[in-house]
């Protein structure tokens, strides 16, 4: 069993410099800082077009203190495979290879190459940071935009389609580790990064990233909104290890307490959901409640096993 991290035991060294171009209150900033602490300086990162590209800096200044390779939008996972192959061919060991892409670069244009890498079993960590739209280009809808969210190209009715369940798609490839976490829970994030690195093949971590300008809330609430997503049961902190699902951290606590905050609190905290009606919120609430009732019941089974 892994020892859980607390704030004081996190590495102090920052592998990202301040004064970068991320928005004020960008939760990717939190996730990236903490994620890099988990990875350490012996890491090579591959980044497609995304907010992270911009956070990492414009030529000739880099905010990131690890070697990074910018690649075309569809090719993050393939490029990570390539870096890995080169290191292997040169007998270089002890370097973490990471592909770190946004939701568009993972669930939409990047899905094919990620699927290929999972099938091949290439030994790298793939991180999807999910701010639920193409934020870098001005908040256009993506495959992971939730139903009802107003975006720059779903401007009045909100997105009509469901959010793509990327971690389930990736888990179906049979890879050894799939983790879902949130920038609002950096210690959970750190632990999952550390744990993921102990597995073989592609490891997948999906991070929920609240985005102040894209979601429509004041920057100081970035962590609060992230926590609301989890405490309402809409986003789950979990891991799938060798095919077995278990919830972690705050989501696990919800199962124990058997109490969720109403989803309404989450939807009404962001102006992107202004088009969602109370009836639609009620329907979503019923779905969430039903899903979590199954989790509450399964906890008895799990606790029986443990």
């Amino acid at each position: 069993m892994q020892v859980k991290t607390n704030i004081l035991s996190l590495p102090e060294e920052e592998l990202v410099y301040p004064g970068n171009r991320a928005c004020a209150g960008c939760a990717l900033g939190i996730a990236y800082r903490i994620g890099l602490k988990a990875l350490g300086p012996d890491t090579i990162i591959v980044v497609p077009p995304s907010c992270l590209t911009v956070l990492q800096g414009l030529y000739p200044v880099a905010a990131t203190r690890i070697p990074s390779l910018n690649v075309t939008f569809a090719s993050t996972a393939a490029a990570a495979t390539g870096v890995l192959a080169a290191l292997k061919a040169q007998g270089k060991k002890g370097v973490n290879v990471v592909g770190w892409a946004g939701d568009g670069g993972t669930a939409d244009i990047g899905l094919q190459s990620l699927s290929g890498a999972c099938e091949r079993g290439d030994d790298f960590l793939y991180v999807c940071y999910d701010n639920e739209a193409y934020m870098n280009t001005g908040v256009q809808r993506s495959g992971t935009t939730p139903k009802g969210a107003i975006t720059a190209n779903t401007p009045y009715k909100g997105k009509l389609q469901q959010k793509k369940d990327v971690s389930a798609i990736i888990a179906a490839h049979g890879i050894e580790y799939v983790g879902t976490t949130s920038a609002a829970y950096p210690l959970d994030l750190y632990d999952k990064f550390r744990k993921a690195l102990t597995f073989g093949g592609v490891k997948y971590i999906h991070i929920h990233i609240p985005c102040p300008p894209g979601w429509g809330f004041a920057p100081q609430y970035a962590v609060k909104v992230g926590k609301l997503a989890v405490e309402t049961g809409l986003f789950e902190l979990s891991e799938i290890e060798h095919g077995r699902l278990r919830h972690t951290g705050a989501s696990r606590k919800l199962m124990e307490k058997r109490k969720l905050l109403p989803v309404r609190e989450y939807f009404r905290s962001q102006s992107r959901f202004n088009a969602i009606t109370d009836e639609e919120i009620e329907a979503i609430q019923q779905n969430v409640t039903k899903r979590w009732e199954c989790y509450f019941e399964s906890l008895d089974d799990i606790e029986g096993e443990e």
Binding site: I7, P18, R33, G57, P60, A62, A63, A222
Partner: protein, 102 residues
């Protein structure tokens, strides 16, 4: 045959080295400035490393994990997450304009 050295090659590609301030002095973005009260801040009060939730959540890493924590105002963007998340409300957001010297 001519052999190109690293400097020669790196001039020919988009090659960026790490340093702060890619976006300049991002402290200039601030409308509100976080101000820490050492009487209320837990590590400052206890005079020992503790809490550091502000350090944990700062997206830009401009708060140091020291006793007391220090905010780098050259780069702090004034997002207010630290003030929002501080468990003892030791950080207050103050109008940046009140700090501009005439």
């Amino acid at each position: 045959m001519k052999k190109k050295n690293e400097g020669d090659y790196c001039k020919r590609i988009s090659f960026s080295e790490a340093g702060p301030g890619d976006a300049g002095r991002t402290g200039s973005w601030r409308v509100l400035r976080p101000v820490m009260d050492p009487q209320t801040c837990t590590p400052a009060k206890r005079n020992a490393p503790s809490c550091y939730i502000c350090w944990l959540y700062c997206p830009d890493g401009v708060i140091s994990r020291t006793v007391p924590p220090k905010i780098d105002y050259q780069y702090c963007k004034g997002c207010g997450i630290c003030a929002q998340e501080c468990p003892t409300k030791a950080i207050v957001m103050v109008e940046e304009s009140s700090f501009i010297k005439e």
